[in-house]
Amino acid sequence: MERDMFLHSAPPTSPDPPLLEARSLSVGYERRRVLDKISFGAARGELIGLIGPNGAGKSTLMKTLGRALTPLSGTAFLEGRPLDAFSAKAFARRVAYLPQRTEPTFSYTVREIVLAGRYPYLSWWQGEGRADREVAEAAMAYTGIRALADASIDQISGGQLQRVLLAKVLAQQTPVLLLDEPATGLDLMYQEELFRFSRALAAAGKTILVVVHELSLAARFCSRLILIGKGRCMADGTPDEVLRPKILSEAYDTDVCVGTHPVTHHYDIYTKVQPPAEEQACLRILLGEEGFHGRW
């Protein structure tokens, strides 16, 4: 297909050794294994979209790669070394993890939040120096929130907050970014902006893993997609390789159609479901016995 050719110009199997690698990694919680023996490598400059149905384990995988969870078995490697070989701060200088749905407490200012990204560079007794401030200012300028620097984070919109949190992870100056649903719940403009930032950062050499729900958005911006479902990795490749009706239908447990938008030539992905009879019966009850129109 011809869509967004320039996006996929980088070959999906890069000759570089993987910067971040999972080898038969099983992730989950004490009593619940979420993903079994997943393996993949992420090279420098890749923008990888993690897709899959709700509850498939995308966030659990991200948490494990960000060391917020310990793997149940298998190992994840960073620069060829196991993740737990790094000290907490050394790891945070290499991998910046943006957790899903961060809710700020206390009315810190935007600048204070962004400066928190400099934490891994400071000894316990140090305060932020001039260099740290410059990095934070640059991160705010890059994400377009410099004018908000002194605003309190409880006064800004959800889209702006997401920019602030992006600025914070950028201030960490890490080669790897793990973004867990950074675009979910945002306006279209902010969603696309976030992916444009991600694409530019990946082009500049960062390795980015991002959890995405919007499949067409993922297809437009990511150089590679990893589809997670049924407790395993179901597909891994370019958007054209992964976004096939058969694969998606199996992953999402429903009939998924994959088309192309006539104007934009972007992917158009939708489900085809017949509402079962039971649903119709329930609807009649929910609308009142005589039905909605009878009431009025």
Binding site: F106, R111, W125
Partner: protein
């Protein structure tokens, strides 16, 4: 750090606080049943600072004794207790990310009450001056350790677990205290009741010395580490993501907060409201950044308690309104005023 809309308040805050402390100290030295001319007190203070003043009416030996051995230690104990409670309240609110956290939340106050109750019950309190404070201190530390130990799982201290274990430990110890109390005679019960209201009566230099080092050292350490509190206040996931060893820092701050709370309760009895309200008031005026919040809470908490104690003696000249009552009487309306005036989202 971020100034902006809070900038104006921030720049003037510390001189104002120092002025407030001086005023509160002066009030506290003037107030009491024994009549002493305020000018003579001022003169004495100048003289002690090495500034000779031509004297009008010098203090009598009796007046000097009242000032130096009754009012001065009382004032200093009040300052230390207020400062310690306010700083640990501010720290605990950050650790728990909860606006209702106060020094009582990790069970320390209930533990101190049990310690005090046992000391009174065994008849130690009337015999030895320091038996009651030491027992209260040990009780507070014991309760805080118990709450933290119960909340600890897999080497992590979850805030919700700690919140609940602190409350439950507090309730359990309160029940034990009640059980002990019912077996005491009326005079001992009254002694305990007075202790729970919190007072600065009969405080001596021993109390000042007892409280000085634990409170000063724990407060200074918390201030030195205040940048880490800003990270902890962002939440566990965020703090881990920037490479903080969350459990270690939580444990350090909990230990320091428990130490300063226990010491404050030990020298002044159980005084409510300071640890909850003062940090909030300061946060409203200066913002949540801990680098300013902690020193300002320390000074404001100390000044507030000294002022409450002095006001209690001025309002009821024949006796005194106990300071634990005054903190609530003055603190609640002031806090509600702040709450209505500023849009407050924690």
């Amino acid at each position: 750090m971020g100034v902006g809309r809070r900038g104006k308040a921030a720049h003037g805050a510390f001189p104002v606080l120092v002025l407030a402390i001086l005023l509160a100290f002066f009030f506290s030295l003037c107030a009491g049943q024994y009549d002493i001319d305020p000018l003579a007190i001022l003169e004495k203070a100048m003289e002690m600072l090495g500034i000779p003043v031509r004297s009008g009416a010098p203090l009598t030996a009796e007046q000097e004794a009242v000032l130096l051995h009754i009012r001065a230690p009382r004032t200093l104990v009040g300052f230390l207790a207020g400062a310690g409670l306010a700083v640990s309240g501010a720290v605990l609110q950050g650790i728990f990310r909860n606006p209702l956290a106060d020094p009582g939340i990790i069970g320390a106050t209930a533990g101190a009450s049990l310690g005090a109750c046992l000391a009174i019950g065994m008849g130690l309190a009337s015999g030895m001056l320091l038996a009651l404070p030491v027992a209260a201190f040990l009780g507070a530390i014991f309760a805080a350790l118990l709450a933290v130990a119960l909340a600890m799982r897999h080497g992590r201290i979850g805030t919700l677990a700690l919140l609940l274990s602190g409350v439950v430990v507090g309730m359990f110890l309160a029940a034990v205290t009640a059980a002990v109390l019912t077996s005491l005679d009326a005079s001992k019960m009254q002694q305990y009741l007075f202790w729970t209201i919190g007072s600065l009566d009969y405080r001596r230099w021993d109390h000042v010395l007892l409280g000085l080092f634990p409170i000063l050292i724990s407060a200074l350490l918390m201030m030195a580490l205040s940048r880490h509190l800003d990270i902890l206040a962002l939440g566990e996931a965020e703090a881990r993501a920037v490479g903080m060893r969350v459990t270690a820092y939580r444990a350090i701050f909990l230990a320091l907060a428990a130490l300063s709370t226990a010491t404050a309760v030990c020298i002044s009895g159980s005084i409510g409201f300071v640890g909850l309200v003062v940090p909030h008031a300061v946060r409203l005026l200066l913002g949540p950044g801990y680098r300013r919040l902690l020193p300002a809470s320390f000074l404001a908490g100390g000044a507030f308690l000294v002022f409450c104690d002095a006001a209690g003696r001025i309002l009821l000249p024949t006796g005194e309104i106990r300071v634990g009552i005054m903190t609530a009487f003055l603190g609640a309306p002031y806090f509600l005023f702040l709450l209505r005036r500023y849009v407050y989202r924690i």
